[in-house]
């Protein structure tokens, strides 16, 4: 962002207020840099209309890989010696399906976790300066940035929406 912009954090005590503020901001040219919330709020989601997460693809991929891994592991290992047990065929599809299934779940979940941490970029080692500890408790934060001259305007906007202001000067 250009050097002459400032980020202003509006801290709201209720989900609805935050949501309204977000709606308001989206009418204005000001950019919503970040929104903090203690809960995955539907109201905020509606307000933000964020794009759909792509975690699901990781999960799906994991699942598919898992199924075949499990199945082929079972088949391959039993073919090493091709021992007949209980008169059953050496590569017994019916029971091997169970192995395949469990691996599906396992790998899908691993894929899911991978997707989650890669998409959400976790773990993070330093918390941003403007982070307020109450965000993990009962406060909602909306961080918007504007050019310096609009600073007061934005602040006023927040205040009218019943926010307390937290600025961190660059």
């Amino acid at each position: 962002m250009p050097a002459d912009t400032v980020s202003i954090m509006g801290i709201f005590s209720s989900e609805q207020r935050a949501a309204l503020a977000i709606d308001g901001l989206r009418e204005t040219p000001w950019i919503i840099e970040q929104v903090y919330s203690p809960i995955p709020s539907h109201a905020i989601e509606h307000a933000l209309e964020p794009p759909k997460s792509r975690v699901g693809w990781f999960t799906l991929a994991g699942g598919i890989i898992g199924f075949f891994t499990g199945f082929f592991l079972a088949a391959f290992t039993s073919l090493r010696w091709s021992l007949i047990v209980g008169g059953k065929p050496v590569v017994a599809l019916v029971p091997f399906f169970i192995v395949g299934f469990e691996f599906t779940i396992l790998f899908a979940v691993l894929g899911n976790v991978l997707g989650l941490i890669s998409q959400a970029r976790l773990p993070r080692f330093e918390t941003p300066a403007h982070y307020d500890e109450r965000f993990s408790g009962d406060r909602f934060g909306v961080l918007a940035c504007c050019s310096e001259d609009e600073q007061d305007e934005l602040t006023r906007f927040f205040e009218t929406n019943g926010a307390e202001i937290k600025t961190n000067d660059v």
Partner: protein, 439 residues
């Protein structure tokens, strides 16, 4: 009750549970640890002398070790069930108990996971069961139900732990932000620098949903697999198609009961009344009635089909179950699992915490006996009359059983005092929904 709750009050109630514990707590911990040592001692003795120090024999090759294994795996089930399935069904009463239930799951799986080892005649050779070839490229036999177990249980442990941990992330952040010194440092690390910014929530909610969606079939599959340890055999009383759903229901049954057994004291000690409302307990109780009816249905079906089959072996096997040497165990099972829970149909009973607690204990007992009746009762009296025999657990087995129970409660007690035993975030969500409905 919910109206009185606010974000703050939720946080405070939960964080109050993390205050430094008194002496009594440490005494309890010490006692449980002693119990663990007892169990460990018995196991060591068994390894040195031989599995024969237990009561198993020919024909009853499997005894309390497998019974406890199935029992604990069962307990481990409703954790994920409550968390995952009810999450999908968006049942509100899930949130207050989900965390404790998941914790229970993880620790129960750990406890259960010990028993196959304890059960082995040559536990020092257990690595033969890992999917690695021996020096002559011989691998484990993936056709064996026990290998299904290995795969299923380890998957279940992994998944439920991840599910549990992921669910805890926001709360860990909350604690981080409310604490100082060492604890702050620790939670800073384990909360993975969670900041609750929307970018994270966006993926988190999605990922958590998939977690739930995957955990649900997993729960069902895992206990089906456990049931197939028996159903895939040819032994009368084991080889029956209903086992998979029947075991799953039974597992949930026992799991829910255990949830109550854990929740009711927790609720009193940690003053969770506002969060874990009677409504929540009632909902659990109702579900117990439901699962109780399912297992009852299964008992009835087994007997009926055995009679219908007119196969002399089947008929005798079930006649003996109900009226033979283990009749007492059988009727304990029937009473505790299907008759007693019916009491919960009465609101008076449901809402009386004491009675509720007692019933939850009875169901636990009943479910233990169910495993006894199934595992011991079937092989003790199978195809060839000349091979019939009886089984009674030995002191060593009891020692190990005590050790296992202590281990479970040991872990749980440690957890509740050092980690958020109720999910603050999810409580806040519930609160949100409550408001939106009100408004």
């Amino acid at each position: 009750m919910e109206q009185t709750l606010t974000y703050k009050s939720i946080d405070n109630t939960v964080l109050d549970t993390l205050t430094p514990p008194q002496r009594s707590y440490w005494v309890l911990v010490a006692l449980l640890f002693a119990g663990i040592l007892l169990g460990a001692g018995c196991w060591t003795y068994q390894i040195l002398v031989g599995i024969g120090v237990g009561g198993q024999n020919n024909p009853v090759f499997w005894g309390t070790y497998l019974i406890n294994f199935v029992f604990w795996v069962g307990i481990a089930h409703s954790g994920t069930l409550i968390s995952a399935i009810l999450h999908l069904f968006r049942a509100g009463w899930r949130n207050p108990i989900a965390r404790a239930a998941e914790t229970m799951t993880v620790f129960a799986v750990c406890t259960a996971g010990l028993f196959p080892f304890i059960h082995l005649g040559r536990v020092w050779m257990v690595y033969y069961m890992l999917p690695v070839p021996n020096q002559r490229t011989l691998w484990p036999n993936f056709q064996s139900p026990l290998m299904f177990d290995v795969v299923a249980i380890s998957t279940y442990l992994t998944v439920s732990s991840l599910f549990w941990y992921t669910g805890m992330l926001p709360d860990l952040a909350t604690i981080r932000d409310r604490s100082h010194g060492l604890r702050h440092k620790i939670f800073k690390v384990i909360s993975l620098g969670w900041t609750g910014e929307w970018e994270i929530w966006r993926h988190y909610t999605r990922g958590y949903l998939f977690f739930a969606a995957l955990a649900t079939p997993l729960v069902i599959s895992v206990h089906s697999v456990v049931s197939w340890d028996f159903a895939l055999s040819v032994i009368p009383g084991w080889h029956t198609t209903i086992f998979a759903p029947y075991f799953v229901a039974g597992a949930i049954h026992s799991g829910l009961a255990m949830v109550l057994t854990l929740m009711i004291p927790l609720r009193i000690i940690f003053k969770y009344e506002a969060i874990i409302t009677t409504h929540v307990l009632e909902s659990v109780a109702k579900t117990i009635v439901f699962t109780g009816l399912i297992v009852g249905f299964a008992y009835a079906t087994e007997i009926f089909i055995a009679w219908y089959s007119h196969n002399p072996v089947e008929v005798e096997s079930f006649r003996w179950r109900a009226f033979g040497d283990y009749a007492l165990e059988y009727w304990i099972m029937v009473t505790c699992n299907t008759i007693v829970p019916l009491l919960l149909l009465f609101k008076k009973v449901r809402t009386n915490i004491r009675i509720l607690f007692v019933i939850s204990l009875l169901v636990n007992v009943g479910m233990w006996y169910e495993r006894f009746v199934i595992i011991v009762g079937s092989v003790a009296h199978d195809f060839l009359p000349h091979a019939w025999g009886l089984y009674a657990p030995s002191l060593v087995e009891f020692g190990i059983m005590i050790g296992a129970f202590c281990l479970f409660f040991f872990l749980f007690v440690l957890f509740v005092k050092h980690m958020p035993s109720v999910s603050m975030t999810e409580m806040k969500e519930t609160l949100q929904e409550g408001e939106s409905h009100a408004g």
